[in-house]
Symmetry: C2
Subunit: 371 residues, 2 copies
Amino acid sequence: MKTKSLVTIIGAGAAGIGTATALKRLGIEDIQVIDKGEIGQSFLDWNTETRFITPSFNTNGFGFPDYNAITTDTSPGNFIDKEHLSGVDYADYLQQVAHFFQIPVITNETILKIHKKEDGYLLSSEQNDYETNYLIVALGDVAYPDVDKVIGSKHGIFYTNLGDYTHLKDSSVYSIIGGNESGFDAAIQLARRGKRSIIYTHTAGIDSESSDPSQSLSLYTKGRYRKYADLITIHSGVKIKEITPFEQSYYLTTDDGTVFMSETPPILATGFSNVKSPLIKDFFDVKGNRAVLNEWDESTLSPNLFMVGSQVEHEGVILCFIYKYRQRFAFIANEIASREGISIDEAELQLYKDYQMFLNDLSCCETDCAC
Amino acid sequence: MKTKSLVTIIGAGAAGIGTATALKRLGIEDIQVIDKGEIGQSFLDWNTETRFITPSFNTNGFGFPDYNAITTDTSPGNFIDKEHLSGVDYADYLQQVAHFFQIPVITNETILKIHKKEDGYLLSSEQNDYETNYLIVALGDVAYPDVDKVIGSKHGIFYTNLGDYTHLKDSSVYSIIGGNESGFDAAIQLARRGKRSIIYTHTAGIDSESSDPSQSLSLYTKGRYRKYADLITIHSGVKIKEITPFEQSYYLTTDDGTVFMSETPPILATGFSNVKSPLIKDFFDVKGNRAVLNEWDESTLSPNLFMVGSQVEHEGVILCFIYKYRQRFAFIANEIASREGISIDEAELQLYKDYQMFLNDLSCCETDCAC
């Protein structure tokens, strides 16, 4: 089997389904989405008790969709009837959106290799080849933990693998490396089970003065933390560089040589980086742990290869929430249409604009508050 | 003392301070706000454990302010560091906004009578007279319970008077009249104390199919209700018409003559209506329990008298959340400037527009969702 399409999206999560919907609604029909699992697989793989930190609330009628919506006229909160959705809830929503907008999705198909061709890309799985002119990478977070900064990270357990926490052996105190949302979520889930934890972090989100929720802890997490603060110790200003097993325990060594002892495998909440994916890493210039993108969120190395989702970042502007990165779906769709000379549905584009889902000037994004 | 100003606002709550800020920012300086209590008094008077049902979250940087913000560049959630604010939290925020934008507020001044004059209004308190060309009524909810539809309502206790619930005498089951947000909040607070309740309601918000949070229960309340569902009985499809004390108990009679018995004074959660206020009722035509307003939210009886806040309603469009009614602050300011020939600050107006805080077409407000 060899299929051809104008636009191919790898990843059927929030970013992939959202972008496919934008393409389709604007009038670009020749698209396909490919995922190695089901629609919303990353969300299905979330730890059982993890919840969206962005509250859902249906304000669609007044021109601003639910923070977690991926299109103008849907509200996952209203659809699922919850304010803070679970991963399973959200996957359900994504499946309904894909169904409603008749997005062609090929599931359970693992792309093994991407080849650059003269006029596009060739994607190969075990059985099939897929040709495409435009490639949009919509790889999520969960599958790509960023653990390289800690030597001996294999001795720890990565945040996304905590599951329902039941397999953690009893211990008086757990060690958590990383003080942002994931680190605090792990500490809170442990505390709910009566377990103490120590968060080792360079800069804790809880101390951040920033009013941008991408840089400081969400209000949801702050509220949950306050409930269990007596069970959670925050060890700020330390950077764990190495994990060394020693007898039944683990040594955690900081970059200034201090050593802490952990009775259990430390929990790594050190962030994500989809450019670690062997599938795509050669197609992007990488700075820190993020892909370098031009003003259209296109690879600076590989023309017509775009990135969407929580890993998109431009200097000073972090797009790591759905309500942020969804504003680039229709933007990219519009750009592809323009390159192809396809005349798009202007009414649909206007709808994206009216609903604050079309961001074309990243310099606008100030988050400082008077009060 | 006799003071004169172009615009006077009665009420220093979310709507009053928000409108005053919009007037000032657009360039109308000759304003004053008068309140019979402190800034945010209605919020200070909230029941201790009542919380905002609209979650706060700072998305200001991306063009849409915190749902509970009253100006473009403030976020009460971020300021107070909580997702669901208490009344005291919110009053704190309002005070800071008034301070920051230097809004002239006369507190603890009770207007006793409003007189219509040829070119405006004269407001009299015990000590002072205030002359104004434009009058904006920003009376809140809490002070104006709507109890007229229940005969013998004086035998019940109104929702807003529950305070910290400690004075409620022990009882196996409480009766609550009204099945929207307030009724459910009372039931939930009782359930948190282990007390059972029965909600008597014609149409329960929990059953509403509407995706408009003004018509169905908020996701926040649904989530809290689920926790305590076993302690809360919902008696739907009944309309309590009369409360009659009988010995140590109360009879609740429905409009079809059915009688229920309540061991304790029933809790009335029957809504609010600020046009019940003797101060303003003669200046508005009233339909149902709402003031009839023209397209500028102006009284159809009294020119240059506007209403702002949660009681503003146009056919099919209910503005009863802050994120809704704040969109009329700058709209009214703009209208007053236009009538007075004042040239406004266009950049500030544009900011209100960019932040979805300027709604000039109420026909736009659809809330149906595909998913």
